[in-house]
């Protein structure tokens, strides 16, 4: 779909500067630029997204009072399930991405008037964290364990994979999931035909990898993918496969596919965000595993009890200011817990695994229905 031009000149100027940043070959933190763009976007969104404006006013934060991106009121991701939060006239909506879930669950929706920023953000981030060794102009063999955009037009993940395939994949790259079916034989044949010197990427949903592993186990087979192989997995399992911890999944990927954990990259992303975060293992080999994102997205770990940044190493709520969300709201509060780790963070998930304190239950656990 051809991107619609941003109607508002201020938004267009912000987007243009951000696009320029995304297309730079440099990949470095730029505090001054981030701060300026974050506050500029906040001003724009404050003025053009009335629910967000009133939300911020209720918290006593306005464009004239905010001095730092850390002060921007964060919208909870759950709000996207029932509110249209966009900073452009709704009639200009060109795309709608929905959060995963079943037909009975209320699904969150991100409305976009352009995909330009989304695509410009995802490509260099994917490349840097999954294919840092890909030579300029070269292409990789990319096997996607997720349905295509044609099958799931409202899945941001399918859209992301399609963009990656188009821009970074070779002619034999493609999808190996259609409907709910994973075509294991075709996948293995495509892996086998990959030239030894070509980077090989298996990317997809975590539950698709579980199905692949289960299939291998059923057949009593193990594979040893070539040394150039790496895996990118994302999302949860709930309701789609048996549940595994990340460590268990990565262990099985090594056991059954021969891809060691240091070549398995978990992506942390969500429909409500324009940018994604990836495990550092390929981009920064030899360093502790942590999530890293692009310079135009910042994460703050906030102690929900005080509303202030969590002490270093302490768990808190993951909040994100993502400049790629120029059409909606940049400052988001996720439902996930995390912990700062060096220049990145680690995701602890929604439930830290502690035993329940009482015999009641937080009813989101009763009411949830396969939502990611």
């Amino acid at each position: 779909v051809k991107p619609a031009p941003a109607a508002d000149p201020r938004r267009a100027a912000l987007d243009a500067e951000l696009l320029g940043w995304m297309r730079e070959s440099r990949w470095e933190r730029d505090d001054e630029r981030f701060e300026r763009l974050a506050l500029g976007s906040f001003r724009f969104q404050f003025e053009h997204c009335p629910p967000y404006r009133r939300f911020c006013q209720g918290r006593g934060v306005t464009p004239s009072s905010a001095r730092s991106w850390r002060e921007l009121p964060c919208v909870p991701t759950g709000a996207f399930k029932e509110l249209v939060l966009c900073s452009f006239p709704p009639q200009r909506t060109r795309h709608r991405f929905l959060t995963s879930g079943t037909s009975t669950a209320q699904r969150g929706a991100l409305h976009l008037d352009t995909l330009e920023l989304y695509e410009a953000s995802l490509l260099p981030t994917f490349r840097r964290h999954v294919l840092p060794d890909l030579a300029p102009g070269a292409r990789a063999r990319i096997c996607v364990l997720a349905p295509s955009r044609g099958e799931q037009p409202e899945s941001s993940l399918s859209h992301m994979f399609d963009v990656v395939l188009a821009e970074l994949g070779d002619a034999q790259s493609g999808h190996f999931v259609s409907g709910d079916r994973l075509d294991v034989e075709a996948l293995l044949a495509r892996i086998d035909s990959t030239p030894a010197d070509r980077p090989l990427v298996l990317c997809g949903t975590a539950f698709a990898f579980v199905h692949l592993l289960d299939d291998a186990e059923r057949r009593g087979r193990s594979f040893h993918l070539p040394g150039s192989a790496r895996i990118m997995e994302t999302g949860g399992f709930k309701g789609r496969s048996r549940e595994l911890s990340r460590a268990e999944l990565h262990g099985l990927l090594e056991l059954r596919l021969g891809v060691p954990p240091e070549r398995v990259v978990n992506q942390y992303g969500m429909t409500e965000l324009g940018s994604q975060f990836y495990d550092s293992v390929l981009a920064r080999p030899g360093e502790p595993r942590r999530k890293l994102g692009p310079p135009w997205a910042r994460v703050a770990i906030v102690d929900p009890r005080s509303g202030k940044p969590a002490a270093p190493g302490e768990a808190g709520v993951i909040t994100v200011v993502d400049l790629a969300n120029s059409g909606s709201v940049c400052a988001l509060q996720t439902a996930d817990l995390g912990r700062a780790r060096g220049d990145g963070f680690e995701v602890l998930g929604r439930e830290p695994g502690a035993e329940e304190r009482g015999c009641s239950i937080a009813t989101d656990l009763l009411l949830s229905d396969g939502q990611a």
Binding site: G78, A79, L337, G358, C359
Partner: protein
């Protein structure tokens, strides 16, 4: 505690059970009745010790623990235990005598405790003993205090009965240790639905499995409870029900359904309840909240704020230690607990059960008020929906000892019944 040590304790319990069953069941029942009377006594050393130690172990505030125990143990008396044995077993003699209806306990009962609310622990340890089934209890990691004290109280009352109780502290993920516990003849597991299901899968017949998963409670107010003095009284009661055990118990209401055709009724209830919760905080302060729960609360508060900002008919009343959200509809929403209550408007009594339907599978108690002549009709519908206890606001946290938790008896799930018909 190693798995072998657990097996050895189980063996010791089997022997203690044989000795116990040489005495009349009535004697055991009387000893247990005296134990309950001791726990009921607010100035008993046991109660004082629990009040003193529980806050540090659990993070609850001392004042809340005192009030929680006062309410929670109000109906826990020796007489209530005698009445329970009569109601569910036909009396203790049926455990001894041969007759047309005979009752036996299992040789041993393992109890896997969860959470940090003391009353369920007390019942869980005493109930098998009424049937003269020795108890091997795995303490909850969140409350090692209560089972230890209950075991001691039993031993102090009757040394031989005390030999029939063992408490072990092992981590829930100690597969081998839990496996040894599960070699008991009857296994009672409490906890999340997934925990209960995973334990159930490991207990094969002929061993008995009794599981208690998580439950939620709610309140329902009819038109007559939404104005004037009745409104103030019922909200005061609800605030107590919410505040005790920081809303973490299965009898803690997570939502209030205001069944009234009047548009402003839910708003009045929410406002009054918020005021009452503010007062409750002064008397029974909320305890510690871990970061995960605080995150859920922050998320739901922000979500409500945003819905208000978007022009939805929602009102948020929040102070540091409690949250009340007056919702625009009856649709069920996440309840993060720790004194977070949603007030839902419902068109009238006829729509109440439909509104509660999403919670039906986990529904425990419903606090009811203000339905006047409709009360019995509403109660019948709630019973059909699966609620196991209906009471007035302010009474939820004072369950009778014989409350049929999970719609079944207290003792019967742990018993084996034998009918004797004429023989040849």
């Amino acid at each position: 505690v190693t798995p072998d040590e657990i097996r050895s304790r189980l063996e010791k319990l089997r022997k203690a059970g044989v000795a116990l069953r040489r005495h009349p069941a009535v004697a055991t029942l009387e000893a247990l009745a005296r134990v309950l009377d001791a726990w009921h006594d607010a100035v008993s050393p046991l109660r004082r010790e629990l009040e003193r130690e529980l806050p540090a172990a659990t993070g609850f505030s001392p004042a809340m623990v005192r009030m929680g125990l006062r309410c929670g143990l109000q109906e826990f008396r020796g007489d209530a235990l005698r009445a329970l044995a009569a109601r569910e077993l036909g009396g203790a003699p049926r455990l001894d005598a041969a007759g047309s209806e005979m009752v036996s306990g299992f040789e041993t009962t393992a109890v896997l405790l969860a959470g940090q609310i003391p009353m369920p622990t007390l019942v869980a340890l005493i109930a098998p003993l009424v049937l003269r089934s020795p108890v091997l209890a795995k303490a909850s990691s969140r409350d090692p205090i209560t089972p230890r004290l209950v075991a001691r109280s039993i031993a102090e009352m009757d040394a031989e009965l005390g030999d029939c109780v063992e408490v072990v502290e092992i981590p829930g993920d100690d597969e081998a240790g839990v496996g040894a516990l599960l070699e008991s003849d009857c296994v009672v597991a409490t906890g999340s639905d997934s925990t209960v299901a995973s334990v159930a899968a490991r207990v094969a017949p002929p061993r008995r499995f009794v599981g208690y998963g998580h439950r939620v409670s709610v309140a329902a107010l009819g038109q007559a409870a939404t104005r004037g003095r009745a409104l103030a009284e019922e909200c005061e009661g609800l605030a107590l029900d919410v505040a005790l055990w920081d809303q973490l118990g299965c009898l803690s209401p997570v939502a209030v359904y205001v069944a009234s055709p009047e548009a402003g009724a839910a708003g009045r209830v929410a406002e009054e309840l918020a005021d009452a919760l503010a007062r409750a905080e002064e008397r029974w302060p909320r305890g510690e909240v871990d970061v995960a729960a605080a995150g859920r609360i922050a998320h739901e508060r922000a979500e409500a704020e945003l819905r208000c900002a978007a022009g939805r008919d929602v009102t948020l009343y929040a102070q540091e230690h409690f949250t009340v959200v007056r919702e625009e509809s009856a649709a069920a929403r996440p309840a993060p607990l720790h004194r977070f209550v949603r007030v839902h408007p419902v068109g009238g009594p006829g729509e109440l059960c439909a509104a509660l339907h999403p919670l039906a599978a986990h529904l425990a108690g419903v606090a009811l008020a203000g339905f006047g002549a409709d009360t019995h009709g509403v109660a019948r519908e709630l019973a059909d929906l699966g609620a196991s206890r209906l009471c007035r606001p302010g009474r939820l946290q004072r369950p009778p000892l014989g409350w049929r938790h999970d719609n079944r008896g207290v003792l019967t799930p742990l018993a084996r019944f034998t009918d004797l018909e004429p023989t040849g």
